[in-house]
Symmetry: C2
Subunit: 296 residues, 2 copies
Amino acid sequence: MIKHYSGDKMIVVSGSQSQNLAFKVSKLLNTKLARVEFKRFPDNEIYVRIVDEIKEYQEAVIINTQKNQNDAIIETILLCDALRDEGVEKIKLVVPYLAYARQDKKFNPGEAISIRALAKIYSNIVDELITINPHETHIEKFFTIPFKYGDAVPKLAEYVKDKVRDPIVLAPDKGALEFAKTASEILNAEYDYLEKTRLSPTEIQIAPKNLDVKERDVVIVDDIISTGGTMATAIKLLKEQGAKKIIASCVHPLLIGDALNKLYCSGVEEVVGTDTYLSEVSKVSVAEIIAKLLSL
Amino acid sequence: MIKHYSGDKMIVVSGSQSQNLAFKVSKLLNTKLARVEFKRFPDNEIYVRIVDEIKEYQEAVIINTQKNQNDAIIETILLCDALRDEGVEKIKLVVPYLAYARQDKKFNPGEAISIRALAKIYSNIVDELITINPHETHIEKFFTIPFKYGDAVPKLAEYVKDKVRDPIVLAPDKGALEFAKTASEILNAEYDYLEKTRLSPTEIQIAPKNLDVKERDVVIVDDIISTGGTMATAIKLLKEQGAKKIIASCVHPLLIGDALNKLYCSGVEEVVGTDTYLSEVSKVSVAEIIAKLLSL
């Protein structure tokens, strides 16, 4: 349930990378959307200005995703300064795609735990952080402020519902099985994960652990598609195993470089992601999920 | 006086944008330079790792300028995390060119005071900040940690000393007069500032307030050359007033876009800056100044 704000309590402030999403959220919550000016100086420094008079608002929600991650983080730091100066007491920061969350532990000695470093910064400047499908939820421990997150997988499942018939839902690996399970409940379908078997030094086999895809529609669900390499290989092999229509879905469509082309050429029918991260396939909006989290 | 460190107390850690400068400073201080790995993930996230075992060092000096300012700031945040995790107790951060220092007050309502926002971040993650010629020194008040700065103008004056004969030292405006005064003492020369007079709606005159440049060598000194527009106009007019050789010097050679070409085509003999900011004319090093500030 989205609770409508009275409109005189909270204001929605968008960063430069989530202007559309922030507008949608402000509509759902019935709150004011602040007019904010973003620009760059000739030396590329970021400039922000809250154009509206906002002295009457004690609470602000900044919505800004982190595709161009370093710029987004600095912009957020500047927005917080401007908002505090205007007298805003409580700032909630919504980062639909939280950058650096995949460096959540030391993989080698001497490494930074990047998300810990940034959690310290966020905890220093805002009062709450909200994100969508963080890669690992244990990162919550790095924050000294409330850390909330939503799950966009049900929205993805609803989107593909009318596009497939009696599908099998697949996770690209065992770690992503939870996503397949969530989607399968909405699609009223069986679910499984893809298992990789090395047949010879040069040959690998990727197939569902338990199910047979022959003559079946398939929906693959993951949190992130980055370079799309493993996903493309899996799609090709599933087609060889007789799969009919394959839809690849993910929450955060990073789709680095030629990932999308790679996927299409592998035989996928459609690729779909959400608007947590701007891409050509960001067709599903997380606005409602964010609005609900802000209504809690 | 540069005090040599014993070598087992402090370690110098360079960021990716000041690797040469950090090496020079470590040599001057006789301290170890840490082996640090920097790279980017395919999605452009920054990765840092302290490769050397550094458990024996309680104090670290990070040296990293901020030309690509947002990347440099995030890299610094990550380096601090990695160093703290290795047990470093005290971190001094040397930022030869401190980005965002020019947004040091509200020029319009609703603006962020960018350097205040970042001073809060630095104060949260390091124990001391050292910079060279900050644009305004009052920014010290935004820091809750010691804030030190050095002056590179004497080094610039020493560099030009043998290149000019009985020169006039000029500041490009009254606000920069202090730089001209400092340089004039080393060059044993007269100094003045350039005054702009509007002759008609379309015509401006730029000339030294009190001195005559006819048949004289001229050294112009400023803290920053950004787009080089006013500087180029001044050089052209000084040449028209009979100036012989003109050298344009600055601490931070930002030289945005075509600034350097603009200056050369205006009739300047040489443009010189320091290595606080990497450019084609970063010929003067601030390594000694930094080493001295670290020896205090």
